[in-house]
Subunit: 117 residues, 2 copies
Amino acid sequence: MTTATNPRVLEHPAREEIRLEAVLHALSDPVRLRIVRCMARGDGDAFSCSYFALPVTKSTSTHHFRVLRESGVVRQVYQGTAKLNMLRRDDLDALFPGLLHSILTAAEAQADRLGDA
Amino acid sequence: MTTATNPRVLEHPAREEIRLEAVLHALSDPVRLRIVRCMARGDGDAFSCSYFALPVTKSTSTHHFRVLRESGVVRQVYQGTAKLNMLRRDDLDALFPGLLHSILTAAEAQADRLGDA
């Protein structure tokens, strides 16, 4: 008997498997931080990867979304051939109250300061 | 005329040069996060690198402290042949109000949850 892995099901850490270090690593990259800032403004909306019009190649973009998914920052589901992304705000807020808010606030302040809104 | 670089003077970013992404990267490593948690309990104290008794080689320890210094998380000064480390709490709080507190709180909560205090 063999076990087939469904390639359409993307692996995610359960809430209790999310680690602070992985979340901080995921958010330590300027492109990933920009993605998350943008999603946070969407208030629970689902975004396709292509929505963000990132200044990187498709494979780099795929890598960034995988880091965000595997760290527990976003949830990804397939819709047709596209992947939709949702910020796991409830999980992050439950595990680390105030953390996401303070990082997003810091990111907005820095963007304003550097003229990079 | 030549310019000599004093090897006893360690380079630090000025407050306005500190970047959120670099701070998050510095704190995304378990060893570095442990160092900063420990320093934060010291309320402004200066700690030698050897104080922390880290489970890593000396060169790895030196690397971790350099990442913390270059990101603006700690200030390092020589005292004899040892380096002393101080958390740059004032600079971080001024740039990113609430950020360090929320990360340290999240780290403590996770350590409690995982039995890794």
